[in-house]
């Protein structure tokens, strides 16, 4: 075998080798076609228990990803709130403040669901959670504002519906890109598990102060490996960045995700001398 062929074969081997693949899998997983049906709990509902990961290729961090041109229907007050977030606020999550709903539905980070008949709990990467009661209760008249809202769950057939109101309006970004929401936010999530490998949400977002009309955010996640689980994460353990972070999310790239645009190249890596 020629040396170049061997090198190519070895490159392909490295791509497919469990060690490399596991490291690249990291926080996202390539989509697969599932051949197993939806698992169910003892009471007959779809079972959402599992470690759920982003599907490779999903546009994450952008709550408007399903809209034409990813353009959010902001009111003038919403535009002003966006400018405020971009120019005068540090990303709340980077300050170890809860991202809340619906930001976490747009996050690229994995999460776990622990499901019981009367409570469905979402466990998030940064070691916090939301616990959704499923006991027939109604919304209170004046809930204390919170980052995840006052969330109430109920079943409609095989769909788990979460209705959330009573949101905070300070130190909140609705997504990674610093888009805003007000205390008028109302979120209705419809969760399904179409097959063994996938979980899906249709998130309806309405906010009469900042958005001219309701809009949807839909997302499908894929099941992680059986031994995958969230690790401990203490956000304030050593948050050195807090003193150095600037305002806003940084640049928004053409694909709608935040990140640096056209960075200058690093020095070339140090390589062995060639004969």
């Amino acid at each position: 075998m020629k040396t170049t062929q061997l090198a190519a074969a070895l490159a392909l081997f490295m791509l497919g080798s469990p060690r490399v693949f596991a490291q690249v899998e990291e926080l996202a997983r390539a989509d697969v076609k599932s051949s197993k049906p939806t698992p169910r709990t003892a009471d007959g509902h779809p079972d959402f228990n599992g470690y759920w990961k982003s599907i490779r290729g999903t546009i994450t961090g952008n709550i408007g990803k399903d809209l034409p041109g990813m353009k959010l229907p902001l009111t003038p007050a919403g535009e002003a709130a966006l400018q405020h977030n971009l120019t005068a606020t540090i990303d709340p999550e980077s300050l170890c403040i809860l991202g809340g709903t619906p930001r976490h539905n747009a996050s690229g980070l994995p999460f776990e669901i622990v499901q019981s008949p009367k409570k469905v709990v979402f466990l998030y990467f940064y070691s916090y959670y939301r616990a959704i009661p499923v006991d027939g209760r109604k919304h209170t008249d004046d809930p204390d504002p919170s980052f995840f809202g006052e969330e109430i769950g109920h079943w409609e057939g095989d769909t788990f519906v979460v209705d959330s109101t009573g949101f905070k309006d300070e130190k909140v970004w609705i997504d990674e890109n610093a888009n805003p929401h007000s205390d008028a936010l109302h979120v209705v999530e419809r969760w399904t598990r179409p097959d063994f490998e996938h979980i899906h949400v249709d998130t309806l977002i309405e906010d009469s102060k900042f958005y001219t009309k309701p809009f949807h955010y839909t997302r499908t996640w894929i099941l992680g490996q059986p031994d995958e689980t969230l690790a401990e994460y203490s956000c304030s353990e050593n948050n050195v960045d807090q003193a150095h972070l600037g305002f806003g999310p940084g640049g928004i790239r053409p694909d709608g995700t935040r990140g640096y645009i056209n960075p200058a190249p690093l020095p070339p890596p140090i390589t062995p001398a060639k004969k």
Binding site: T3, T4, L6, A7, L10, A11, M14, L15, V20, A22, Q23, V24, E26, L27, A28, S54, R56, T60, G61, I90, D91, E93, S94, C96, S107, G108, L109, E176, A231, Y233, C235, E237, N238, N239, V240, D241, H244, G246, G248, P249, G250, G251, R253, T257, R258, G259, Y260, N262, P263, A264, P265, L266, P267, P269, I270, T271, P272, A273, K274, K275
Partner: protein
């Protein structure tokens, strides 16, 4: 015998003044078969045949390709803290290691040609992210020499986002935080 230039000899206005690397790779020939001898930081030499070089190169390219697909999903945005127009290379000895969340930090003393020491903080991913890339806490120790390539903090402090780190044993690893929207780095482990 060919001796490649040290980083100090390769300085340009763009990279600025950097301390001299402690040892330069040396090319040697043994038993009629061309081999490369790579030394870093005073550690034992690593002998690489042509076959091994091509394998490593292919693996690096494969790794680089895989690195390119990470979308943004990190604790904070790279661009909100670091300046992608200010790449730099630091060579220094480790004085402190913080293997913590949200980010691991290691602190290095960088000495210039006049012997003046500047203290730098280098930010990596969280411990889980780094260990997934094959970089364990025990891989670096106080007194080790590291080569850190990354981007300078926007606020001008001696803080660098360590996107590529050359370890004392010669391995080159990505120190970047997973999916922070920062530049992906060719030539590092996936």
């Amino acid at each position: 015998m060919n001796r490649r230039k040290s980083p100090a000899q390769c300085q340009s206005k763009f990279w600025g003044s950097l301390p001299r690397h402690s040892s330069a790779p040396v090319h040697a020939s043994e038993g009629g078969r061309a081999r490369l001898r790579l030394t870093f930081g005073g550690g034992p030499p690593i002998l690489l045949t042509m076959h091994a070089r091509l394998t490593a190169f292919a693996a690096l390219i494969a790794g680089a390709g895989l690195l390119m697909v990470e979308p943004a999903r990190a604790h904070h945005s790279f661009a909100a803290e670091f300046d992608g127009n200010k790449p730099m290379r630091l060579v220094g000895t480790i004085t402190k290691v913080e293997w913590t969340n949200p980010h691991a930090f290691f602190y290095i003393d960088v000495k210039d040609d006049q012997g003046n020491v500047t203290k730098w903080a280098c930010e990596g991913g969280g411990p889980g992210a780094l260990s997934r890339r094959g970089w364990k806490k025990g891989d670096i120790k106080l007194g080790d020499t590291l080569i850190v390539d990354g981007y300078l903090a926007r606020d001008g402090s001696h803080l660098i986002d360590a996107r590529r780190v050359t370890l004392p044993d010669g391995r080159i690893v990505s120190g970047a935080s997973a999916g922070d929207g920062g530049p992906q780095v060719p030539g590092t482990n996936p």
